[in-house]
Symmetry: D2
């Protein structure tokens, strides 16, 4: 066993996982600066995080891996030879992809799954065992003892009966009784990861990967867990802007947000049952920050020509002194995977740090990374960030 | 003497002063809610501030007062009868306006001044004495002992030799030697206000109202002073958004801001010598918040048809992970006087509070109200706001 | 009988009708210029149109009339006394409002109807007779022989079986067999108007007011008809911009349009069955102008705080030379009734002109006024406008 | 001599020329569709234009040629191997670049010129002779008899005394008297091209390339000339949108346009003397289309991080019925060279067509390609386009 650290992605063949791996390679080779990585910036860079070159990647997918060059073309790297070489390295990783789980994943996800890439089973228990075996195999093959499992898969439909996930006991019951219709694949990966003593991170809004039961399980198995739903674009801007209205006692009358995007994420979110999960996650912050619920809307539409370039238009109608109405509009044009991937590397690093420090359960100081922060009801970006700064302060104060 | 508090505006006939007075009347009569006033909101509303109905208004101007109904029409009040009545009350106040000072005010300002509304003098000392007499007269007539003087006049040209303002002694020298070419009217009002033991607030970017010398003078005379340049629109949004890029380690490549407005403020700012003062004030925050200076621009153009409805378009070009370039644009459409006027009432209230608590010199905890906060180099809106929260906490902790 | 001309609105109590009447009054009294009226502009002003002061207004509604002052407040008139007087004049007109028809109007419309304002019947024939009697009564009372009936009512749900409207015979059959479920109120008003020899104008997208059968009926009764769906905002801009892409051989990949509005129109369009009628009408022009169907979207959402101030954001993704992708975005912030009302006065004038000239059937030269121009498949604004110019040229050439 | 056609660029090493050549190569090899080329689209594709593979490229420059791969990277081609091969072909062309002329080109342009790439002379006559020799040499070497000369160089400062360019005689006088201070390089290239019987196209706003004298000269030498200033971005949109306001009798109060760009064009336009030439050209169309001059602005700012990706924000404030004020904003994000280059190939084709048809002097039917159309005062895009359609109609009617 050595200093290397494993990172296993649920959805390792996707655009996002590919970008995470490309970024880890490019930054460790100094092909580009560490822009976007918090862990490389003051004051966090005082902490000894896992070097990016020490990450060993792998994961599961329900589809074959597309040409990784495709995912890299739209990003900002300029040297064609270098892009090609990175693409080759990623290809070698993706060859070893484990088949994924589609047990009750819903129509939209099942439809994109491919023959030979799905582990077929009707048993929750069997599915969990399979994922745990994959983790063990990955550890042994790469001589690792520390592994982070990160869910980057498409958004699943909502779970009808969330109470089943509220405690360790109720989850055990779901598994024992093989209640397929009330679980989702996200629960299977999360359960397997935690009980295999991996750090577990739910970067998606899928509800199976984020519950009271899992939090308790993480305490029991002494591993840190984090989530949910990476805050990368429109919601990030909202969490920076909404406090401004509160701090000026300006009344938000309406906050209408329209998102258009063209990647696989967008394609899956075309389906109402999947998008409702996402929208619920994105629409959470306004009442928390403002103290009241203005008229608000979060819509997500699939526009194939955009590819990974997501655009959001937000229209904010507000009322000020003497009942005067005014507006603020913003247009956010981001590259989804370029925004999300440094967060994922940061989360993996903070996850390993917590594991090494013996912390377990929900890491609520990671709130600034998530649309639906697990373990705390704080949505203001700056206040969330302060939690992280305080955490870091505590660590560095006690480090000689 | 009673519980009433005097508020004297430099520029009492302008759109902004008129809106401040209209707001104070309308809110105290319950014609509209106190939206926009921080002092009426948690946690600040625990403090006993001066009731709005206890403010007695007055001031100086270099022009005759325009029809105040004109200024109120574009705001959000709906009852025509009520608007008319408020207009009448303001008219009675504005009848008593003192003539203003134009000593070395620059071409643009001198040109809008009107015969019979300017106190003619070639002596700085005489000008100061005149302002002090006006203050005394106002106090006596209204039986007041506490007065706040607030500069709301048009932006003056920059001062060539700022070192003359750096200490009490150097200012005394300027006055004694009657160095007209190195002072501006803003200095005269500030000096007169402080030495008359008034709270002084510089809501403009004019440099005469904001210096080391004035800060020392305020200590000497045991009065609180605040400034400079009210943060109401584009800069407010910038100070909420810029920290987001820092908190995500995203590199801002270019931040281009274009402001268009149509009121008197905009008309004066058409002149390069006046607008450079303003632009310097607006362009200060990015290097402080980001830690480096991106390519940036703040332009202000006069578009008469807009009236008091200011519009700003900001284009932010930034670079993220793997050198990927992205953009954020926002369009801010605000009503300038509706945004500024509650800040002015809040500042007056905090000013009187400080005076009563025996605080003197620069009130740096008021940073969130200003584009160029006096006494502290903090530009992040949330961090500035925390200073105010901490100040309030301290007060309320010691109040039974 | 004299030179006066009657104008009857379906929906006479609405925001839009109120604004039309206010505009006719204000312009004829010279309280504001005729901005927005084509008929007052070169080259059309060479034609002798009905003076605005010769219009006599009236109409039907299913609700009581709201305070007309409310509708006028947000417009650009400034003199409060004048606004009040106009409001009084409109009130006198609206007192005489005829009860409206809700026969198979759909849930959303029926729900806003008020007791005592609906003519109750289960018979199509009876409903038609009632409307015809109202027209006769209006003519007699006001000593008119020329009347224009204009549908300004809320958008109705689509009609399931449009083939029933394709000929005069099929419409007669619908009426004879009293097939309530395949008609809508719009058909009843249109049928009554045409057979009462009125000019008929369908300013809404409601399908009952716009069909082959009605066109034939208009020929039979020798009256001009026009429609459908006034082109006032987003679609107007689209019809000006889309030809640009065609003229430059740029390929539109996606054209996504998001509309938010807060008036009664928006409230009714919250209902999917009503909005689908509207969206079908708005989404018609791109394939006609471009020659192919890009990915496109027209969404309409209700945002109450906006009132009559409609906002549209359109995002156009296009591809140029060497497959290079680019974007154009626009934000349209219009006052719906101020945009639509001059069109309505122009349409009434052109309608009376055609009637006097003995023209009958569909007036396809009016295409530039409509989202779904009746009688011609031309959607480019400039090409539509040329039809009107040519029509005007023909008339003025033959006038001494 | 054969069917090949020469195309000589003033500024052959720039981003734009490189893109033109890349496009000609890529489209003739079927590596991408002919999107953006009017000449390949109905109804123009009925005309027999020069095949793109028959163009032989060359030209002048005052700088060494940068790596052409750099210019191609940001465009839409995806196959890396193909991009590389195109880059090689362009490199071979650019090796033969003739040194350029900087005689009175102004500071900004002189500063970017490089040693060994400038033909040094103090004589206008000598400079003209040099350019004519280059043309001859290019013709002989490539066995061509038809050549198009296209000015794509940076915008020059305005010419103080335009009357010197008004007739053939006055231009001859300038040359004979060697009045260096009243000519610019653009005049030298234009004069040499026309007197060498080349088609001449002024794609820039530089005033030396566009005058009454040159028009007369073109008639004398029996060659077609076209210009000025390619209409590619913001002005294109304006010329499509402005007629909408005229067609609806809506009064434009203010039209404010802000352009930001980061290429060499933008760098040169940082200089006030260069940008005034450009702005004059861009600001011409509103009074022509609207019939009055609204408040308007065209500003151009250099934002290096944008590279060739130009962004324009236009804010249009307009007044409609009942004095109601409304706004339209648009943001145009275009790739400058991808927009301009197909126009240049179209212009070359139409130029050769006119030459073959024996047409000479100013080709005013090409107005839709230019911001300052030479020979006609029409600025509405659609009306300009109709001129081209009519021209094409005339030709195809007479073709069997």
């Amino acid at each position: 066993m050595d200093h290397k650290v494993g990172v296993l992605f649920v959805g390792v063949c996707g655009h996002l996982s590919t970008t995470v791996m490309a970024g880890a390679i490019a930054v460790s080779k100094n092909l580009c600066p560490a822009t976007g990585l918090i862990s490389e910036k003051k004051p966090f860079n005082k902490i000894k995080f896992t070097p990016l070159s020490d990450f060993v990647f792998g994961g599961w997918d329900i589809r074959s891996c597309a040409d990784s060059l495709n995912a890299l073309k739209d990003l900002g790297l300029e040297n064609i030879q270098e892009i090609w070489e990175i693409g080759q390295q990623i290809k070698e990783i993706q060859i070893k992809t484990f088949p994924g789980i589609t047990l009750n994943a819903g129509m939209a996800i099942s439809e994109i799954s491919e023959q030979g890439h799905v582990f077929k089973t009707d048993s929750i228990k069997e599915a969990i065992e399979k994922v745990k075996e994959d983790i063990d195999h990955f550890k042994t093959e790469n001589k690792l003892d520390k592994v982070v499992v990160i869910n980057l898969a498409s958004t699943e439909p909502q779970i009808s009966e969330l109470s089943g996930l509220s405690s360790m006991e109720s989850i055990s019951k779901l598994i024992d009784e093989n209640q397929i219709s009330t679980i989702r694949p996200s629960l299977i990966y999360a359960y397997a990861a935690i009980t295999s003593r991996c750090v577990y991170i739910n970067f998606t809004p899928s509800e199976g990967g984020f519950s009271g039961g899992l939090a308790a399980l993480a305490h029991e198995y002494r591993v840190p867990v984090m989530g949910s739903d990476g805050k990368t674009g429109e919601t990030l801007v909202k969490s920076a802007l909404a406090p401004m209205f509160a701090m000026r006692n300006l009344e938000v009358l309406s906050w209408e947000g329209y998102n258009i995007l063209g990647n696989m994420d967008g394609k899956i979110l075309q389906n109402a049952e999947n998008s409702s999960t996402k929208i619920r996650s994105k629409d959470r912050l306004l009442p928390h920050i403002l103290g009241y619920q203005p008229h608000s809307r979060v819509s997500i539409d699939y526009v194939p020509s955009l590819g990974d370039r997501k655009t959001a238009w937000d229209f904010i109608h507000f009322q000020g002194f003497l009942n005067t109405k005014m507006t603020l509009q913003f247009t956010w044009q981001g590259c989804d995977s370029a925004l999300a991937s440094p967060l994922i590397l940061d989360l993996a690093r903070f996850g390993i740090l917590a594991l090494e420090r013996g912390e377990s359960g929900v890491m609520s100081h990671m709130a600034s990374f998530f649309k639906s922060p697990w373990g705390i009801d704080e949505h203001s970006l700056e206040k969330q960030f302060r939690l992280l700064e305080d955490y870091c302060q505590k660590i560095t104060d006690h480090t000689p």
